[in-house]
């Protein structure tokens, strides 16, 4: 299916465990993003990537690790999950361009609960 997908859609884990959230897009978009959404905070950027093997920190990167070995995949890893990382995580992608007025397309989200 074309588009952007996230897996799993729901995840319950325990404090201290490692968790990886997957994101896959079929458009060959250069840019990919990870956001977390929390009530009262809106959407906050965790990490983003301009291309394969190029990543950069966003507003709230602590406790998260990303990689991008292939253009279409952008996994997000919580190396040692904490309760404060309970959230809904959204992956997004966009085309690149000098003007960069390009729409970001969001995935359906992963609801993560850390017990």
């Amino acid at each position: 299916d074309a588009g952007i997908t996230q897996s799993p859609r729901y995840k319950i884990t325990e404090t201290g465990r490692q968790v990886t959230l997957m994101c896959h897009q079929t458009w060959s978009h250069s840019y990919m993003f990870w956001y977390r959404q929390d009530l009262g905070h809106g959407l906050r950027l965790i990490y983003y990537s301009a291309a394969a093997d190029i990543t950069d920190k966003g507003e709230v990167p602590d406790g998260y690790v990303v990689s991008r070995s292939k253009t279409e995949n952008f996994p997000l890893t919580l190396e040692s999950a904490t309760r404060s990382q309970t959230s809904v995580y959204f992956c997004a992608s966009s085309e690149t361009g000098v003007s960069s007025y390009n729409e970001q397309f969001f995935g359906p989200g992963t609801r993560l609960t850390v017990l």
């Binding site: 840019y31 993003f33 009262g40 905070h41 809106g42 959407l43 906050r44 950027l45 983003y48 301009a50 966003g58 959204f90 997004a92 966009s94 690149t96 000098v98 003007s99 960069s100 007025y101 729409e103 970001q104 397309f105 969001f106 995935g107 359906p108 989200g109």
Partner: protein
């Protein structure tokens, strides 16, 4: 430092009424202002966007008004419908910079 301030946090409007959501920004380098709409259980999706060279953009019942001198922009939803009930996010970005700065969102409920 929050660079895009959105208000109100929540809004209840009667069917057929006008919904108005406001955003203010600080960074004068911002030059692209999109609004995203998010339904429960879904990811946000682009609704409408404006650049600061125009003061208003209209798409159907949705209008963005932009005031560059006041560093404010707003979303107006005319003839609001129950199907418009969603969370709305304003955002901003500048130049070749690729990331969006989002407001905290407004939960809109349109009552039948």
């Amino acid at each position: 430092q929050q660079q895009v301030k959105q208000s109100p946090q929540s809004l209840i409007v009667q069917k057929g009424g006008i919904s108005i959501i406001n955003c203010a920004y600080e960074n004068t380098a911002f030059d692209y202002f999109p609004w995203y709409q998010q339904f429960p259980g879904k990811g946000p999706a682009l609704l409408i966007a404006i650049r600061p060279d125009v003061s208003e953009k209209k798409e159907g019942r949705f209008t963005i008004s932009f005031n560059k001198s006041a560093k404010q922009f707003s979303l107006h939803i005319m003839d609001s419908q129950p199907g418009d009930s969603a969370t709305y996010f304003c955002a901003a970005k500048y130049g070749g910079y690729s990331t969006l700065t989002f407001g905290k969102g407004t939960m809109l409920l349109v009552s039948p």
